[in-house]
Point group: C2
Chain length 341, copies 2
Amino acid sequence: MTRRSSSVTIRDVARQAGVSVATVSRYINQNAPVSPEVAERLDKVMTELRYVPHAAARHLASRKTRVVGLLLNNLHNDFFVPLLNGIEAVIRQKGYNLIVATYHEDYRNQMNPPIGPHNTDGLLVFADGLFDEDLASMNASGFPMVLVHRTPPPSLSIPSVTVENVEITHKLVDHLIQVHGRRRIMFLRGPVHQEDSARREMGYKAALQANGIPFDENLILSGDFERDIAYQVMDRFLGNGNRVAFDAVFTGDDDAAIGVLRALHQHGLKVPEDVAVIGFDDLGFAPFLNPPLTTVRAPTESVGRIAAERLFGLLENRQFDEEVVVLPTEIIFRRSCGCSY
Amino acid sequence: MTRRSSSVTIRDVARQAGVSVATVSRYINQNAPVSPEVAERLDKVMTELRYVPHAAARHLASRKTRVVGLLLNNLHNDFFVPLLNGIEAVIRQKGYNLIVATYHEDYRNQMNPPIGPHNTDGLLVFADGLFDEDLASMNASGFPMVLVHRTPPPSLSIPSVTVENVEITHKLVDHLIQVHGRRRIMFLRGPVHQEDSARREMGYKAALQANGIPFDENLILSGDFERDIAYQVMDRFLGNGNRVAFDAVFTGDDDAAIGVLRALHQHGLKVPEDVAVIGFDDLGFAPFLNPPLTTVRAPTESVGRIAAERLFGLLENRQFDEEVVVLPTEIIFRRSCGCSY
DNA sequence: ACGGTTACTGTAAACGGTTACAGAAAAAAC
DNA sequence: GTTTTTTCTGTAACCGTTTACAGTAACCGT
């Protein structure tokens, strides 16, 4: 058995069809006319030989990878399923490939970044922990990228797709206060530099103020937008002897809400009677939590889709009027806030 | 502005450091000794120039892509989050990249398959709809691949990682019958050629037979392991005037369970009083559904992890004793089957 | 002092495509 | 019937690495 080259190259195809490699290449890429007879012959030869162009060779020669990268912090959250779904739909339709990488600390000073210009034609960036200067350096060479759930730093002009957080959170907290009479509302932060989290906190604080309720630092915990962490944090908080009184929790997102519900339940607190609970995202399971979760419906799949479309817009030098797209959100009232359901 | 080549190449590095490109390459890949002075100089020059090796050139020359592909049907299911998570952890630790593609019909006769040998060093395959002959042709050239949640066809020897389905489903149905006195148990199939679904159905039928309950074709529906589809199917079934009596549903998986719960609820059926419901996978939300879902805990993240490790085993020519790994599963009793909770 | 390793380095040929350039033949324009 | 354009094709350079081959210098044992 010949060890070398089990793979058939463009030269094999050319020889077999009696044409030059240039012609084959042109036919494959449809970027120059080819006579009908040759086309037919090539079709036959290529399927016969099961020819598949070697991606790397193609990339090297054409300077295009036909790959876009998705950079994210982790893959713990059910939130990513609709997001990925939206992204994938566009990518596939464009005949591109998607490469997924997680960001972690040593990404910055590492000399082999998992994804970047050497690898991809453009990047979708969903990563807090990526600071403004990181973005600046990535963006420096004009490498196409689109931010997801994060707006660009003022100095940079990077397209961005996100959802409305502040007003909707404000409304939600208003609802807790005005409709259900809650006044001791806990807020679970997301990851430290997560923008959604920061904005939701803004909305939360604004609503407290608007309703004349003093802000209490003791009512802020960090749930990290993760089930397990939210659970642990809440569990520890409740286990604490001298715990602060509270009658509602804004959990940050639906995933954290699951953890919170479990912790409350285990400590014998009734939702919504003792404690109202609200989430964010309206993930598929939200209507079936125990009790059904009041939450904010965020068009996550659309975010993915639109972000991907923007990226292709960049790749194709198309223009968009607005740089930052903020998709509208909507409150879904269910039982967990105290509504009748 | 110079349009061409904003990127610094290995030649730039070589020139700047006063060595040959071969030396630079060897230092980068650590596959031949380099004098300490040169090493130091290279370090400096490379960070100074922000040199990042061009992936495609590397792939082309070395015949290795340092990429593994994940082929799956769709991205609708929350099930994929833990799976992806397990896979990603291993991939990253190996310094590889992960490229995700969805399988659809025209994958087969298409001449530009999204992922394959031209693209990746190996494949993780989670895709029903991929028939034995597809697998055979993909596997023909000895291209490394590992099957996920699917055992290889008898003629092929492809490593595979899956979970135990038959016995556990048998036990679960036994439980419904013997403990909760259910006798009209509906079964929701998954996607047509999904192996988990087929095995669960085997367990289901075996349990009926073992308990002397005749199998009723009318109690079989197709939920496709998807929330929305399961909901629609169940909704239509319940809306049907002359509907068949049933007192339990094995929903196939937790995602479908969500849809079923919603449909039952909307039609005024109480779970578990009127209808017992059980799922499969024990996804993160299962304990918080309404009511908490009795389900089977499947070690999905481990499946991902182990599958990825297997694949690297193949890439590194390591040997494993067993070709098919079947991870154990475990029933988690909660309220939805009728247990007290 | 001498042959044999070992440590390090460079030259140049791949790897498998794309594409600028050039040219021939056929079609269109005059 | 010539000129011009259009359609189609081929040759060969290039994309940025790796690596076989070859070679030099230092080290080692005797």
